[in-house]
Symmetry: C2
Subunit: 719 residues, 2 copies
């Protein structure tokens, strides 16, 4: 059925090369020197804590995924996929769902394992100098980046190659999204529970330095970095990556229903996001290779150069692949323009993808202005801290609000241009383009927590001051890199869920073509406005639940830390070991328990809206969540980032440094910002992705109720 099967082989090839490189790098990490006995011990605690958390999390997930698989099976048994040319059995969808969740779980687990392994080894390598330390930590992160992309792209390729229907990949994406929800939100709660508790008691009450081994929450804090910032982040980007691909594939495939192109050409367009992604993956691999070979005088610059290089290579390789595709046989070039000529259409979508990757960098750099401590906003937050806690909070929050503007304008420009290139398909291509170099993005993002942990282990392992200073230097490189990669996550998140919304509505239009249902989402209709209102409500509740979870668990852990200090005074004197496991246990149990409401909310809410108010209300509901989620994601992440860096700015000796009111206030801001930027903020993206995919997965159910009008049939209240 595929006219250009060679392009699909290219996709497989990229996944295989990526996997091979990942295992080569993994070997480099695993053969590195693990350091002294104390370091091995601490590293062992972290590894065991992280494994224990992931094991329990996956057990819970198994039940959740199993339950959902049954529901998916029932829905697709009752409402089978049987449109023209498409006939997918219910169990294929279930299988796809399970494969998706398994692939994501596997990639997250393996990537985290390597990340944990790289922690202590980075600290040890730092005793030998900057380059070896950078290599170990960067390779550790790169493994995650390459495994995520190869598992995602390989999985999508396999399903598409075997079954040949883009819609089946929806199940894969839904599976990956389910994992991301647990990994991101659960990991986010875990990591901030430990971080906040460690700060509240250790830093503020007992004035212990960061990562002090006497702090019973110190190891839990390190575990949190691994399960939240590495495993959670990986699962999140796995989810976005696959979702952006499936959104674009479904929209591409929808041209087959327009009658403008034949089925073979629709297949070419549907598989084009895979070709784009393969180009990005090859670019990422080269980028990673170049970074590892660069001189490491400035590790931050090395990471950013790698990202820019990957982006440039992606644009080049993407052009090459597009050229090969548009000049191969079977391409419909009978007419001209995007409605008649598939070659033109592919070039336009390639343009949108290339523009997407450039926009990602620009959005990142402009947004970074609000959190960079050499810029006005962060310094203003630090200065206002001199007037106390309240003004620190107010100033940081206000800059968080202001920081919404540049990315919003960025997204508006990207949307406008990519839509002009090829309508909603163009928007989807822009999101695929932004996420194409996700291998590099994940590698750079995972590098951060690895060196952060390395610093902790160096401290706990009693390494020299200059080694710790080197770790600090590596750590600040991570922040520099994050400035750029952040833009991709923000931009891609918004565009991806928009693409999912578009594909949801396209699919609905198709299923309702024989009814008198109109699928536009007119804001002036009552069902659409009600959907929007309910949509903007959900991320508020979700954020609140997550922040509460951190808040509550941190209070439990604070009590435990105080208990240990009181009952065992030897801990503070350094003569007795703190009970790390108790703190890890509190974070593990607390975060998994706290996931019940958010995970149910994310699946149940869209189903309730769809069943009660119908397809249009559900589309509007998704649009509402996208709008508020975009704003809240930026506000929470950037306010948190500004507070964090304002604190670091003061700790660097500015405005009187530690021990001042300004520092105390800045620590308050940082603590408030922790669950903002690392729990609620990033998890909102996952929430919206899960809700969008839930809507698409269960679309057939909603269409079955009063021809998509829902039980209440609000849309028909008024003619």
């Amino acid at each position: 059925m595929f006219v250009n099967v060679w392009s699909l082989w290219l996709v497989l090839l990229s996944a295989i090369v990526s996997l091979v490189v990942a295992f080569l790098l993994k070997k480099k990490v695993s053969t590195a020197d693990p350091g002294n006995e104390e370091m091995v011990k601490v590293q062992g605690y972290i590894r065991d804590g992280a494994n224990a958390f992931v094991r329990r999390q996956y057990k819970t997930l198994a039940i959740f995924v199993g339950g959902l698989a049954i529901v998916v099976g029932i829905i697709y048994y009752i409402y089978p996929i049987e449109t023209e040319g498409t006939n997918v059995k219910w169990w294929v969808m279930v299988l796809s769902f399970i494969v998706g969740s398994s692939a994501s779980a596997w990639a997250g687990w393996l990537g985290m394992k390597v990340g944990v392994d790289a922690n202590a080894k980075t600290a040890q390598a730092a005793t030998k100098g900057l380059t070896p330390a950078f290599d170990v930590s960067f390779f550790g992160g790169a493994v995650m980046g390459l495994i995520v992309t190869s598992a995602a792209l390989g999985g999508v390729w396999l399903l598409y190659y075997i079954i040949g229907e883009p819609i089946v990949i929806l199940g894969f994406s839904f599976g990956a999204s389910t994992i991301a929800l647990f990994a991101k939100a659960g990991g986010g709660i875990f990591t901030k529970t430990a971080d906040v508790a460690a700060d509240l008691v250790g830093k503020i009450e007992y004035s212990l330095p960061e990562d002090d081994p006497r702090n019973p929450a110190a190891v839990a804090d390190n575990v949190g970095d691994n399960v939240g910032d590495i495993a959670g982040m990986g699962a999140d980007l796995f989810d976005s990556y696959v979702a952006s691909i499936i959104g674009a594939m479904l929209l591409g495939y929808s041209v087959s229903y327009t009658g403008l192109f034949d089925l073979a050409n629709a297949d070419i367009l549907a598989s084009f996001p895979l070709v784009i992604s393969a180009a990005g993956l090859f670019a990422s691999i080269v980028g990673i290779y170049v970074i590892s070979k660069m001189k490491k005088t400035s590790p931050g610059k090395a990471l950013n150069s790698g990202t820019y290089l990957a982006a440039a290579l992606f644009i080049g390789i993407g052009a090459l692949f597009t050229f090969l595709l548009t000049t191969s046989s079977g391409i419909d070039t009978s007419g001209s323009g995007r409605f008649e000529n598939m070659s033109d259409k592919l070039w336009l979508n390639y343009g949108a993808a290339a523009f997407g990757v450039i926009a990602g960098i620009i959005i990142g750099l402009t947004t970074d202005y609000y959190t960079d401590d050499s810029k006005h906003p962060t310094q203003a937050v630090a200065e206002s801290s001199q007037q106390g806690h309240a003004l620190n909070i107010l100033t940081g929050f206000s800059y968080g609000l202001m920081s919404v503007a540049p990315p919003t304008l960025g997204i508006v420009v990207v949307m406008g241009i990519s839509y002009a290139l090829d309508g909603v398909i163009g928007v989807a291509s822009a999101s695929t383009g932004m996420l194409a170099i996700v291998g590099t993005i994940v590698a750079n993002d995972a590098y951060g927590p690895i060196v952060d942990n390395a610093r902790g282990i160096a401290e706990q392992g009693g390494l020299e001051e200059d080694v710790i200073a080197l770790c600090d230097k590596l750590d600040s490189a991570g922040n520099t890199a994050k400035a750029v990669t952040k833009g991709f996550s923000i931009g891609a998140a918004a565009l991806t869920v928009l693409a999912l919304l578009y594909s949801f509505m396209e699919e609905a239009k198709l299923l309702l073509v024989d009814t008198d249902f109109v699928t536009g989402l007119d804001v002036l209709s009552v069902d659409v406005m009600i959907g929007l209102l309910l949509g903007v409500m959900i991320p508020c509740i979700y954020s609140a639940v997550l922040i509460f979870a951190v808040d509550k668990n941190a209070q439990v852990m604070v009590k435990e830390i105080r208990r240990q200090f009181e009952e065992h005074p030897g801990i503070l004197e350094g003569t007795e070991a703190a009970d790390f496991e108790k703190c890890i246990d509190i974070a593990t149990v607390g975060s998994l328990k706290a996931l019940v409401v958010p995970s149910l909310l994310s699946v149940v809410a869209p189903i309730v809206v769809g069943v009660l108010f119908g397809v249009r209300a559900l589309g509007a509901f998704l649009a509402g969540t996208i709008l508020i989620g975009f704003i809240f994601g930026l506000l929470l992440s950037n306010a948190g980032g500004t507070w964090d860096n304002a604190k670091k700015y003061i700790e660097d000796g500015n405005l009187g440094g530690k021990g001042t009111l300004a520092h105390a206030a800045a620590v308050t801001g940082d603590t408030v910002g922790d669950p903002f930027k690392d729990t609620a903020g990033p998890a909102i993206n996952t929430l919206i992705c899960v809700m969008s995919l839930t809507a698409s997965m269960f679309l057939r159910l909603f269409v079955g109720i009063n021809s998509g009008e829902g039980l209440i049939q609000l849309g028909t209240l008024i003619a």
Copy 2:
């Protein structure tokens, strides 16, 4: 032209009766005992400070209003109103605009004057007992309530009676909105600048009690209550009240274009919101009378009973008026149902209005759960304060997020039902119904700051402890009353701007009827999505600018207070008078300066969107601001309320009371909450109202550019 002119006379009568009662009550306040010399002196400071602020504010306003009047004149000269049966000269619109702004400015100034007068007199009356003190303060607030309603309703009546075209009232409403923007945002910045600065230095650094006369910011704080919570609040509700009426009138009048009813019946429907409002005004007057005659054992209950009574009376009087109207001659009862029978249509809209007022009460009571200190959320915030500043902030913010749910569900239900009754006209009627008893609402709302100020003057005037305790009791009654009235403001704000959005689009449809422009707001279109994205961005910037203004001005004032304490040690010892005027001046200059950006933003932003992206994008832009404004308004107001009450809960002696870490943390929360709940939160509503009215006022300009597609013509990018 008006078939049922008697109903319009009824409207005039309600405005006159209201004005007469207002002046009777004003006289009662002005003849009350002004208290001892010290009190007269403090009262004089407050009066002079408030007058100075208002005078300067009105001067700035005169320039702004004058400039806008010229723009309005030019636009209506170039694009005159000349549709069928309508011919309005450009200068009529300008006049209407100026009358609207003057009426609002006059009502706000007079109401504030009486409020300021009632301050010291309430304190003095408190020496004689609860009832006399309650009466003075309640009468002071009631004057504001009655003057606002009579000026608003009287002004609308006059314009409608003379010119007979609902569209002219748009100018009146736009004028009122301009004043509200300055009064609400400017007053909000003023009041919180003083409050935050007074708390930061006085309470936290020097442990002075609330309202201590040694605090140089004490008088500025009192002035702030008057200019922000009385004058600002009055202008805000004047604005919402008129906007809800004009939204409903324009939508009602739009039936004349459907051809379903004749012009006379369209007029009846267009004037129905006035009849509904007159019913509400009569109900408010009776409610105020009954409150003033009730036994005052529990002043909080008295205020709430008055609100419930006014609501019940409104439902009764509204039914009577509707009955009279539907049985008078000229009503089209030829067919049946809302499309053929005007009598049925009026009854359905009466139903929506009655439902609106009930929903207002329910929304208020459920939302109140999150800020009431006898309920779980506020107590949980207080408890988390024991773990320090950060957890206080996190817990309060989370409850603020949660508090979004009940009113959202409330609005969804009101919208669903009122839409089912009569479509968008029904929704507009529900908003008119909610705001019909605005006289009572404003009276109860203005009561709060009056007694708050009375407490301050009692403290500064050296009155006995039990008098201050009585003032505290009166103060807490204000909070109880606010619990119910708040629901009306929230619900009415959302529904009113929705009604304005609907009438904007109806008007656009009419003006573009001869083009191939389609006026639905399809979220899936790129111009609509871009409009939505830009719409959700603006309230973020606006909130940030307002919070920054408080933040920055408070820092200036903090420095001034410290300077006074350092250079004049006698102030703290009580031997030297603090320089109050300097602080008042800082707040005045700072808040007016800070208004430049937000006021330009509110008028320029919708014009830019309309000119560049066209009418649909502008409609979506408004929808975006409504959605995010609704959420932010609730989040900021309720988080602020919870923090405020958690602090009071601790100050009442719970959890160790004053002097504990919990108290210090709770003060931080309260200070953060101040600009949230009293500056940014409530001003967002005004912003959205101004933007909606700007869109409607300049609609003819946007329609003139590429047939409403805007300069960029995004909507035509893709067929």
